[in-house]
């Protein structure tokens, strides 16, 4: 418990969290501070490229691990199963319609790559190593949740737009999956030598870019809260904090069954606990246009993301250290 608290304190007072807080505060105070869309997109491409590349290099360094395949499969399985749990929870905790509940559930099965990035940076500053292929697991967990959620709807007889091939391709080849997997492959192929060539681009400035990116995330989350908080009833709000803990627990069990390192277990928890706010919302607009975007965006970005960033990550890392660190 002490470790959790001290880790949480260190985390809360780090430049990246404070930058996020600054963004939220500026948005709530209705400042006109804003980061141009193109710049924010550019930073997210940088972060994805860097995290993927470094993951690939780490795999090249440590050789391929027998657990890679099983971790990927476990990730896909978790991503597919978490929406069912989330849906059930929502039925109990809230009075959202089936449609809205399924849309929300899809988000919690999928993952937030920025939460993942923030967690790796906490691990790094704590000197905890993690399997490099966790970025591949992250990529694998993006999409299955969407299929689960659509299945939930079609089972309920609602007239969901059927998963057309275009949508399927959009989901599987969405930009962040392709960039993550692609840069992972490049890092793997070029290894330490490749890293040496671009290290001063993707390693040294990484934390700083993450600060500015989280500033933007804070602005967006804050604006979302200002406009969308009205739609979040207490039950839904509570779900936004309970569900990450449920997800993290499942991630913990999975990571330990797979026999991952402390860092790997912590990242599995983070992935399971985090909720998508890029790929899944876009898919939902196409497949379930009648579901209310305010609900799932505000919940995922305004509640769960800040929770994970501030309290969740320290908790997951501490628990992983305590239980898997044996």
């Amino acid at each position: 418990m002490d470790q959790i608290l001290s880790l949480a304190a260190t985390n809360l007072l780090s430049p990246i969290i404070l930058s996020f807080a600054l963004g939220v505060a500026a948005a709530l105070a209705r400042s006109d501070l804003n980061i141009p869309e193109a710049v924010a997109k550019g930073m997210s491409i940088y972060l994805l490229f860097a995290i993927g590349f470094k993951g690939g290099v780490s795999v090249a360094d440590h050789g391929i691990d027998a657990k890679l395949a099983s971790s990927l499969l476990a990730g896909i399985f978790l991503s597919a199963v978490l929406p069912l749990i989330a849906f059930a929870l929502l039925q109990v905790m809230s009075n959202l319609s089936r449609l809205d509940a399924a849309a929300v559930a899809a988000h919690y099965g999928s993952i937030s790559i920025v939460t993942f990035v923030a967690a790796t940076s906490v691990l790094e500053s704590g000197g905890i190593v993690a399997e490099g292929y966790m970025v591949a697991v992250a990529a694998a967990m993006e999409a299955p949740a969407i299929l689960s959620a659509l299945w939930l709807i079609s089972r309920g007889g609602a007239d969901a737009r059927h998963m057309d091939p275009d949508l399927m391709r959009e989901i599987m080849l969405n930009g962040s999956i392709v960039l993550l997997v692609g840069s992972f492959a490049i890092g793997w192929i070029t290894g330490a030598e490749g890293l040496a060539r671009i290290e001063s681009f993707i390693v040294s400035p990484f934390q700083g870019v993450l600060c500015l990116f989280l500033l933007d995330m804070g602005l967006v989350a804050g604006r979302g809260l200002r406009g969308g908080s009205a739609v979040l009833k207490p039950g839904v709000l509570a779900f936004g904090v309970v569900m990450p803990l449920v997800g993290a627990s499942l991630g913990l069990v999975t990571g330990m069954l797979l026999g991952l390192s402390v860092g790997g277990v912590a990242l599995f928890m983070v992935l399971s606990a985090s909720a998508s706010y890029i790929a899944v919302p876009a898919a939902m607009r196409v497949a379930l246009p009648e579901a209310n975007p305010s609900i799932y965006l505000t919940l995922s970005l305004g509640v769960t993301f800040p929770f994970n960033l501030t309290l969740g990550i320290p908790i997951y890392v501490s628990v992983a250290s305590a239980l898997a660190g044996g």
Binding site: N34, E37, A40, R161, D166, D216, M217, L219, V220, R223, G224, G227, Y277, I278, A279, P281, A282, M284, R285, V286, P289, E290, P293, S294, L297, L301
Partner: protein, 103 residues
């Protein structure tokens, strides 16, 4: 200068639906259109703005299509199929064009 009667159809639609809309238009034989960016707006589903978007999920675009009057219904039928379940608006106005051979 010689001009010709035409119809101008402006469809404001979510960006994720843009390609689906233009695909349907192409199927219906409409081959000319222009896509304009949209910064924000407000409607029955509330206000939104590009600033507040972390994903492209909430972004919209405007697809403008100038066509011969006799082809209007084909276009509207096609567009309606895509727009139907989605937010957005379709407006039609009269206009004249130069160089009608291009339409």
């Amino acid at each position: 200068m010689q001009t010709h009667q035409a119809k101008r159809v402006a469809i404001i639609i979510e960006q994720v639906m843009q390609k689906r809309l233009t695909d349907v238009m192409t199927e219906a034989g409409v081959t000319g259109w222009t896509v304009l960016p949209v910064l924000g707006g407000s409607g029955r589903s509330g206000a939104w703005s590009r600033e507040g978007q972390v994903s492209r999920a909430g972004s919209m675009v405007q697809v403008v299509c100038v066509i011969r009057p006799e082809r209007l219904d084909t276009l509207l039928d096609a567009a309606f199929r895509v727009v139907d379940r989605h937010i957005g608006i379709v407006s039609i106005s009269d206009c004249e064009v130069l160089r009608a051979e291009r339409f």
